[in-house]
Each structure stands twice: as structure tokens, then as C-alpha cells.
């Protein structure tokens, strides 16, 4: 997480006018159905971008438009300063890994990786050396003579990756490259791919519907929903400052509380809670969102301070689950008036405050961590 934050800060700067890949006003229609609606995006040289969104939101469609496999209905795409909107796939500069890997089953691993190189007409010895180098790079140095079916899913995935980067493309496209693998291998390969991308410095776009994957790998995340980009930002930005209720909801866990807004405050149960939100009219219906880990535990009986923003609520612990590295508590109580809050407490806090089921305690909802969105799902009022 810290790595990608560091990487993200670099990329979070205003988009470079000389961005490597520029997508401008892209639409895609399948008959009457609009799979992409006015999508614009800039990707910088060397960046690792994730398209993140629920299944069917248009991620693959956008990727295929960039690849020239399924051309857009409107809009332009520029890569490396050149307009590639109407170039066929074979004239564009990218390597691609599909979900199925699409390895040639009748060719050995070596021949698979060499497939693109042979066409350029390099000398055989050079191809061989390059293949060996690539196999080393993806950690399969001794599998050259095997057939794809003889490898595990994770190994096949790495062969597909090696084949895609063999011709040193300017852009690497990955469509859900990890989704067919089991959980352990997946976590391991996240690391590998990220490492590889950093080593090569190749601009990369990865499609995924797995928020953890996106958060841990991407320099910037493009959150999509129903053919529209909801937000573009670093992992920390989209996590801490989601641009819409959809983003807040889709990434990470949330407590969502439907309520009304008045003078910078929202009501949660019987308690008025200060927020840093502005720009909502008085009495507007809003949704207040707070993440479980942002709920700060205090010992019972701590008096709500008079000062605005202290946001202390007296609650009762209904139940607690131990989730390995932290506790999840379901909170209720008179002050909440039927609303249930979920909170994540560290083991440390649980021990220190001797929290247990049935006990009462005080929680603090820090004003700057309470997010407020229009009830109809629109952007927040910041």
C-alpha cells in the first residue's frame, strides 16, 4: 500500500499535456446499447493504470477499443502523440494478455514466446537468447520445452505475459489476467506483475473487477460504472476521497446512512454529526458514509465535547467477530435510534478498552472522515 501511494503521488499531478495515451470522448454502441459513454482519459508514460468496475461496466470494451479489436463508435485515441483511432490492431503498438491467455496449444513455451519475434526476422540465436531472458524474467527458466497444457494456470499466465512483452511494446494491456487463478497464486502474481512492470517501465493498463487487486497494483485507478468513468485517481484518492457514492460503495466497506443535511451537519440516529461537507442545501436528503476503520473507539462514558466536530456517540456493542488482525463490531444503541454501525477495532484497542459484546462504549466519527453524497448517487458536496 505504501508503495503505490508513493507511486500514486507522482501520477496524481495534473495530467501531462504530452500524455502517452489520450482517450477523448469515446463512445461505444452495440446496437441501441451504449457500452461506453463519453469516456475521456489520459495515461502517462510508464504508468500502471487499472480499469476497475463491476462486471459488465465496459472495461473490456474500452480495452478492446484501445487495442483496435473492436473500434469505438465515436471519439479519438492517441498514443505516443499519434492519432491511432482508425489504425488496425496490427498497426498499433501494444502487447496483450487475455483472460484465457490464448497460448498456442501446439507450440512449446519457447515457440509461444518466440512467435512475435520470429516474424521480425531476427537471427535465431538472438531469438533464443531473448526467449531465455524473458523466461528468466517471468521466473520460468526451465520450462522452455514444455507445452502450455503441461503448466499450471499461474505459469501459463506468466508465459502469456512473456509473449506479450517479447516484442517490447509501448503499451501493455491485461484483461483480467489473474481472475482465472486461485487466491494464493493471484496474490503472488500481483506482486510479480507489478515488479515486472516497474522493471520494464512499460505503460500498462490492467482490467479488473477486484478492488484489492486495483488498490495494491495501480498507480492510478479508473473506476467505471455503466459505461461511464466515475473517478480517476490514485488508490488513496479513490479510497479516501471517493468522488461518488458508487465509488465509495464499490471500493472498501462502508456504513451508509440515509439522512438529511443541515448547516454542515447530518443526523445519525439522534445525534447531529459535524462533517466537512458543504454545498448541500438545508434539509437535502443525503447519504452519509463512514468506513468501519474510521470509527474511533473510546471508553464508555466519555462526554461529548461541546466543540463541533467531536462527534461522539454512546453505543452498545451488539456483537463482535474476530477477523484475524482486527475485530469487527456491530454497534447499536439508543443514540443511534435503530441505525446500525459497523466498526473495525484493532486488537490493541479491544484489549485496552476491554471491549466485549453487550458492553457500552463511546465512538467518535471524525468530521473529516464522514463523507456526504446526494441521495440520488451524485457527487459529494465538497
Amino acid at each position: 500500500m505504501t508503495q503505490s501511494t508513493a507511486g500514486g503521488q507522482r501520477a496524481a499531478a495534473a495530467p501531462d499535456p504530452s500524455a502517452y495515451l489520450e482517450i477523448d470522448g469515446l463512445w461505444k454502441a452495440f446496437g441501441d446499447f451504449l457500452a461506453l459513454r463519453d469516456v475521456s482519459l489520459q495515461v502517462n508514460q510508464g504508468e500502471f493504470i487499472c480499469f476497475l468496475g463491476p462486471s459488465g461496466c465496459g472495461k473490456t470494451t474500452l480495452l478492446r477499443a484501445i487495442a483496435g479489436l473492436d473500434p469505438q463508435t465515436r471519439g479519438t485515441i492517441r498514443q505516443g502523440g499519434q492519432d491511432i483511432s482508425t489504425l488496425p490492431a496490427s498497426a498499433r503498438d501494444y502487447g496483450i494478455v487475455f483472460q484465457s491467455y490464448a497460448l498456442f496449444p501446439n507450440l512449446t513455451i519457447e515457440k509461444n514466446i518466440a512467435f512475435g519475434l520470429e516474424n521480425i526476422g531476427r537471427p535465431r540465436a538472438e531469438i533464443r537468447a531473448r526467449v531465455a531472458e524473458l523466461l528468466e524474467l517471468v521466473g520460468l527458466p526451465d520450462q522452455a520445452g514444455k507445452y502450455p497444457a503441461q503448466l499450471s494456470g499461474g505459469q501459463q499466465q506468466r508465459v502469456a505475459l512473456a509473449r506479450a512483452i517479447a516484442i517490447s511494446p509501448g503499451l501493455l494491456l491485461l484483461d483480467e489476467p489473474l481472475s482465472a487463478l486461485d487466491a494464493k497464486v493471484r496474490v503472488f502474481l500481483r506482486h510479480e506483475i507489478k515488479e515486472l512492470q516497474r522493471k520494464l517501465g512499460v505503460t500498462t493498463i490492467m482490467v479488473t473487477h477486484d478492488q484489492e487487486e486495483a488498490l495494491s497494483m495501480a498507480d492510478r485507478i479508473v473506476v467505471m460504472n455503466q459505461g461511464v468513468i466515475e473517478q480517476v485517481g490514485t488508490p488513496t484518492q479513490v479510497y479516501r476521497h471517493p468522488a461518488s457514492l458508487f465509488v465509495a460503495d464499490f471500493i472498501g466497506e462502508t456504513n451508509k446512512i440515509e439522512t438529511t443535511f443541515s448547516a454542515g451537519k447530518v443526523k445519525i440516529g439522534k445525534t447531529s454529526i459535524a462533517t466537512s461537507a458543504t454545498g448541500f442545501s438545508r434539509g437535502a436528503s443525503v447519504v452519509a458514509v463512514i468506513r468501519p476503520e474510521d470509527v474511533v473507539p473510546h471508553s464508555a462514558g466519555r462526554k461529548p465535547a461541546r466543540s463541533a466536530g467531536a462527534n461522539l456517540i454512546e453505543v452498545e456493542i451488539e456483537s463482535m467477530e474476530f477477523l484475524g488482525s482486527y475485530w469487527r463490531a456491530h454497534l447499536a444503541g439508543k443514540a443511534l435510534a435503530g441505525t446500525e454501525l459497523i466498526a473495525n477495532f484493532s486488537m490493541n484497542a479491544v484489549r485496552r478498552l476491554s471491549l466485549a459484546e453487550g458492553k457500552t462504549m463511546t465512538v467518535e466519527l471524525p468530521a473529516e472522515r464522514v463523507l456526504v453524497f446526494n441521495a440520488d448517487g451524485g457527487g459529494d458536496g465538497r
Binding site: W27, R37, L87, Y94, I96, N106
Partner: protein
């Protein structure tokens, strides 16, 4: 943050520039489509228009003048029609004629004498009014003056017109249209028998624990390897005038419906069996377990589980069998006797009476049931495929002595019949002089001493088989690849699909006749292939195109759809991918298409009987012609040569497939 407007802005969708690959693919597809148009659509069109073509003398188009004895003093112009109305010289029915008809002009001048000094003038009225003077053709509105001696040689020529007259003639001639009834009768009876026999056989092989299953499977496929005339010849030896089992018929004649039906069951049996077997083998064990747990009786289970599960297979098998029988020509030709059926009528009209227009009419009539059966079969096949893709647990039979015994008897009888037919042919081919001298000799194999083309015909058949297998497979597989793997170009692909499916609906005889009309037209730039091996290869490839195309499509659909995008991203042209990956991965299907083309090229009679020439005699046609000439034993011998050749080809195919699998498909094994 992002634009939320939900309306596509005005403008046009950008189109990707076509790269070399896209152009090559489209080009190749268009080339193969043009091939199909030239080899299928245009000939069929030529045939269709031929069936509407009639020839008749149009008397209103000619005018005459007659001089007096001095050669001057011309009479007023009078039309031939006016003269005929007055004289009734030519009956209206006799005005209809064939394309080569001639009508003497003197018919309208009863007191004509070529010695008299009276002179005659003739002219046409309107744009076409052809007439001959001797051998010279005129077609003019100018008066032409002729002496009596020359006028004697004036012949009116018919004009061509389009009408339904041929059809009217057909349906008002009982001798012709009765064949429809006969054909439908034969096809229906044969279909019912074949489907019942094949269903029992398939059921026994799939659902019992009887012994010798592999042997039965092998025997059941034997009829595919021989021309459809062969069972006819065997039946002659069994039940003909000197047949060794003649008494079994109790005086009935084998020549006629009986022979056609028995022979049809023989040659359609494997086709029905393959379809029904597939349907039965995909049925689900779980249904049977459910039925058993409900304590349904075996009989009830059969009717409520087995039959519904196999119903698409049964329907499909019935339509395929029906089409095969109704379009088959060789068998009724050999054993049909006086019993007329549509396919033989076409042959008789064309070869016997040279009435090509009527041949075309019968062809169109024959096309109707074939097309209907084809459409129904396509619909049913789609549903069957849907069933296939559902995951099911294959049925595991359990031993049951009575049931297994019954199955053994059923299959034994069928197998005995098949082996009996082929064995009879082989025996007759080797016997010195059936039935008087049954000692063995190879006399009947001295084909060069008989009509029919001799050993040359056999060699031609092998050449045809190999050429069809190699070229046909290349064309079919390439075409299927293009239509499956091209991006966009939707209309073009749809059209191509239609063209590729069409041959299945066209009976071989109809295709052959269509080839005469199309390629034997001197105005056709492709006329030069008429009478060559080329036209035989083209005709055979086209005739058997659809099954190969479907086989190739199935194989292509099974390979990963992302190979082409990957190759494009690696900037590798598609032909490299095609050669290095697609073809090797599809090699089993490619070999299947080849053997199918070879075997069918060896056995087909109907598609080629109209277009072979003395230089391109074929073995299967030789069987027909030798039988026609009364050389039945040599015909049987030639038929057996085809059988052995095909059997060897199958063995080679099996060995090749295994070799290819071992070599190029090592990846299939983990």
C-alpha cells in the same frame, strides 16, 4: 465527474483502416464465394431458367407473297398465321417443339410445286423471326425473293419463350407425374424401415452389454464405402431371375419397389445410425436414475425418457434418410425395373430423350422435397446442438441377459444382411459364370475388355478422389476459416454461409444437369472445362461442400477466439498463425474432411453421370454402364474395387490421424 449524458452525439463511427491481413482475408473469402457462385448458384439458375424455356413456331411472325406464273404481279402479303387458320395445315399442338425444331414453309401452300415458275417472297415481322434457307439462317424484315426450288428449302425455326408450359406438360402427363407418388412412397417406406433398424442398432450398441460391439460398429459403416448401386446388383444375384434366394420372394419380383426399398435401407443405414447414435450417446444417465427411483417400468422409461431424449436425432435421421433415398439415382436405375421414380426420370429425359427442358422440370420437382427436408433438418440440428452443450452424465448400461440377447440378435441380423450384400457381390465378381460355373476366376476384373471405361475408369476415380480430397479440403477449410475469423463484414459473411449451406439441399443429379446447362454453353467463358477432369473435381467438391464446411466450422469454433488478436498484437500476419497454429490444431478435422471427400468422390454416381466424358470415365459410372450393358458380374467386380479402395483409404486415414495426433498434438496429453 464524467459526462453523464446518455445520447450518442451525432457523427459517424470511425472505420478501421484495412490492413493487409483484413484485405487478404476478405479477398480469399470473396474468391471462394465466387467459386461457389460459379460452381453452384449460376448453374442452378441456368437450370431453373431452362425449365421455363419453351420453343414454338410463331406463325404471326412470317409473311409471304406469291407471284403469278410470269414471276410478277405479286399477291398481297399474307401471314403464315392467316394461311394456317384457313388451311389448318399445322395443328396448334404441333406448333410446340424442341429447340431444334423446323417447319417447312411449303406447309402453307398446298398447291406448291417446285417446278412451277411461280416465285415466293418471305419476310419476318418483328425483331425475331428466324428461318432457314438450306443451311443459311435469316432473321430479317426485308423481303427475300425465292424461286420455287429454293422456297422448298425454307424452314421456319422456333422462337424461345418463357412460360410454365413445360410444367403444364409435366403435370398433364401421367407417365411423368406418377413418379412423384412413386418417389414419395419409396422414400417414406425406406425411411421408416431404416430409422427403426438403425434405432434398434444404435440402442443396442449404446445401451446394452452385448458382446462384439466393435465388430458391429465396423460392419455397420461398410455401406458408406460402396456406391448405392451395389446393393442393387447384390439383390439381382440374390433375388433376380437366377437369384439363389429367389424362392423367398414367393413369386414377387425384386425389380421394382421391393428392390429399391431393400437397397435403400442398405445404403442409408450408416447415415441414420451415426445421427441416432450421437443423439443416444448424449442422453443423460440422471434421467434414467430418476425414472428408476420412481419405479417406472422399463417400457415406460423407454417411452418417457429414451424416445424424447433421442427425438431430434430420430427426426434428423428420418429427414436425412428421406433425402438420400429420394435423390438417389443409381439404385432405382439398376433394380427399379419399370417402376419410375423422379431421379431416374431426369436421367431418362436427358440421356434417353434429349429433352433437357423436361429434365430441368423434373429436377425442380425433385429439388422441392430435398429443400424442405434440408430446412427441417437444419432447424432440428440446431436444437440438438443445444442439447449437446448441456452437461450430462453418460449412460452406463448394466448386463441383462434377456435384453442383451435380444440386442445381439437384432444387430446380428442387420450385420448379416450387410455382410451378405457385400459378400454376394464379391462372390459374383469372382465366379466364372454365374450361376452355371461357380469356379473362381479373375475374368470379371478384365475391365479393359468391356464397355464402361476399363481400368482407366478406376484410375480416373482415384485421381478424382485424391484431387477432390486435397483441393476440396483446402478450399473448404480456408473458406470456413475466413468466414469464422473475419472481423466485421457481416453481410458478406452471411451470404457466404448461405452459399456454403446450399449444396446440401441440391441433389447430385440436379447439380450435374445444371452443369450441362451452364458449362456446356459455348457462350460461357468456362466452357473449356467441359468434358475434363476439372469439371468433375469442381462438381464433386461442390456437391459435398456443406458437410466439410460444417466440420471445419465446428473445429474452428472450438479453438480460442483470441488467437487472431494475439497474433495481430504481435504484428504477425494471419497466414503465419494459420499455418503454424490453426491448421495443426485442426488437423484431425482436416483429415476427416479429406476422407469424407475421397470416399464420396469414389462412390458418387449421380453428380457426375451427366458430365463425365469418354476421357474421364469413372469407376462408379462404369458400374452403372456395365450393368446397363448386361455385364453384371464385372459391374459387381468394379463395385468391389471401389469398396476395397475406400476401405484402404479409411485405414490410411486412421493411421494418419493417429500419427498426426501423436506428432503435432503431443500437447493434448498432459
Amino acid at each position: 465527474m464524467a459526462g453523464n449524458q446518455a445520447v450518442l452525439p451525432a457523427g459517424r463511427a470511425p472505420r478501421l483502416q484495412l490492413d493487409r491481413d483484413a484485405l487478404t482475408k476478405r479477398g480469399l473469402m470473396v474468391v471462394i464465394a465466387v467459386y461457389l457462385v460459379a460452381a453452384l448458384a449460376l448453374p442452378l439458375y441456368a437450370m431453373l431458367s431452362k425449365s421455363f424455356t419453351t420453343y414454338s413456331f410463331d406463325l404471326a411472325r412470317y409473311e409471304f407473297q406469291v407471284s403469278d406464273e410470269t414471276g410478277g404481279n405479286w399477291s398481297d402479303p399474307v401471314s403464315a398465321k392467316a394461311l394456317n387458320d384457313k388451311l389448318n395445315a399445322v395443328a396448334p399442338a404441333d406448333l410446340a417443339t424442341i429447340s431444334d425444331g423446323r417447319l417447312p414453309a411449303t406447309s402453307f401452300f398446298p398447291d406448291f410445286s417446285f417446278r412451277s415458275p411461280v416465285k415466293y417472297r418471305i419476310r419476318g415481322v418483328g425483331p425475331t423471326a428466324p428461318y432457314l434457307v438450306g443451311l443459311e439462317l435469316f432473321n430479317s424484315n426485308e423481303w427475300k425473293e425465292l424461286s420455287g426450288n429454293d422456297f422448298r428449302r425454307v424452314m421456319l425455326r422456333p422462337v424461345q419463350s418463357r412460360s410454365l408450359a413445360n410444367y403444364v406438360t409435366y403435370f398433364s402427363t401421367p407417365a411423368l407425374f406418377r413418379s412423384i407418388e412413386n418417389s414419395l412412397f419409396i422414400a417414406t417406406v425406406s425411411t421408416i424401415l431404416t430409422v427403426i433398424l438403425a434405432f434398434g442398432f444404435a440402442y443396442a450398441v449404446n445401451r446394452s452389454c452385448m458382446p462384439f460391439k466393435p465388430v458391429f460398429r465396423l460392419i455397420a459403416m461398410m455401406p458408406i464405402l460402396v456406391p448405392s448401386l451395389l446393393p442393387g446388383i447384390a439383390l439381382i444375384y440374390m433375388f433376380g431371375n437366377q437369384g439363389y434366394m429367389k424362392e423367398l420372394l414367393l413369386g414377387e419380383s425384386i425389380y421394382g419397389p421391393l428392390g429399391i426399398v431393400i437397397g435403400s435401407v442398405f445404403f442409408t443405414f450408416p447415415h441414420a445410425l451415426i445421427i441416432i447414435s450421437t443423439a443416444l450417446s448424449i442422453s443423460d444417465q440422471r434421467h434414467y436414475e430418476a425414472a428408476e427411483s420412481l419405479r417406472a417400468s422399463a417400457w415406460r422409461t423407454f417411452w418417457t425418457v429414451t424416445i424424447p431424449g433421442a427425438r431430434y436425432g430420430l427426426i434428423s435421421a428420418a429427414f436425412v434418410t428421406f433425402t438420400l433415398v429420394i435423390t438417389d439415382f443409381g439404385l432405382p436405375k439398376v433394380i427399379g425395373g419399370q417402376y419410375n421414380v423422379l431421379a431416374v426420370d431426369i436421367y431418362k429425359q436427358v440421356i434417353g430423350q434429349q429433352n433437357f427442358e423436361m429434365g430441368a422440370v423434373v429436377s425442380v420437382v425433385l429439388l422441392i422435397p430435398a429443400v424442405v427436408a434440408f430446412i427441417v433438418d437444419r432447424i432440428v440440428q440446431k436444437k440438438q446442438v443445444a442439447l449437446l452443450s448441456a452437461r450430462s452424465v453418460p449412460y452406463q448400461p448394466r448386463p441383462d441377459r434377456r435384453f442383451d440377447g435380444f440386442c445381439l440378435v437384432w444387430c446380428g441380423v442387420v450385420a448379416f444382411f450387410i455382410v451378405g450384400v457385400i459378400g454376394t457381390c464379391q462372390f459374383a465378381a469372382l465366379a466364372k459364370f454365374w450361376p452355371y460355373d461357380l469356379s473362381m476366376s479373375l475374368n470379371n476384373y478384365a475391365f479393359d475388355r468391356m464397355d464402361g471405361g476399363g481400368w482407366e475408369a478406376y484410375r480416373n476415380s482415384i485421381r478424382l478422389g485424391l484431387l477432390t480430397a486435397v483441393i476440396g479440403t483446402a478450399i473448404i477449410f480456408t473458406g470456413a476459416y475466413m468466414v469464422e475469423k473475419i472481423d466485421g463484414f457481416k453481410t458478406g459473411r452471411g451470404l457466404f454461409q448461405l452459399l456454403a449451406m446450399l449444396p446440401m439441399a441440391v441433389p447430385g443429379l440436379v447439380l450435374g444437369l445444371a452443369y450441362i446447362f451452364f458449362f456446356n454453353n459455348p457462350a460461357n467463358p468456362l466452357h473449356f472445362i467441359y468434358g475434363t477432369m476439372t469439371i468433375l473435381v469442381i462438381c464433386t467438391i461442390t456437391h459435398f461442400y456443406t458437410v466439410g464446411h460444417l466440420t471445419a466450422l465446428t473445429a474452428l469454433k472450438q479453438i480460442d477466439q483470441e488467437f487472431e488478436p494475439v497474433a495481430a498484437s504481435l504484428r504477425t500476419p494471419f497466414h503465419r498463425l494459420f499455418a503454424r497454429v490453426t491448421v495443426p490444431v485442426c488437423m484431425p478435422a482436416i483429415l476427416d474432411i479429406s476422407i469424407y471427400m475421397f470416399v464420396n468422390a469414389m462412390t458418387t454416381v449421380s453428380a457426375v453421370v451427366f458430365i463425365y466424358s469418354t476421357k474421364t470415365n469413372l469407376a462408379s459410372v462404369a458400374v452403372l454402364n456395365m450393368d446397363d450393358a448386361g455385364d453384371i458380374a464385372p459391374a459387381a467386380a468394379m463395385g468391389m474395387m471401389i469398396f476395397y479402395t475406400n476401405a484402404i483409404a479409411r485405414i490410411v486415414h486412421a493411421a494418419l490421424s493417429r500419427g498426426v495426433l501423436a506428432r503435432t498434438q503431443a500437447w493434448r496429453k498432459r
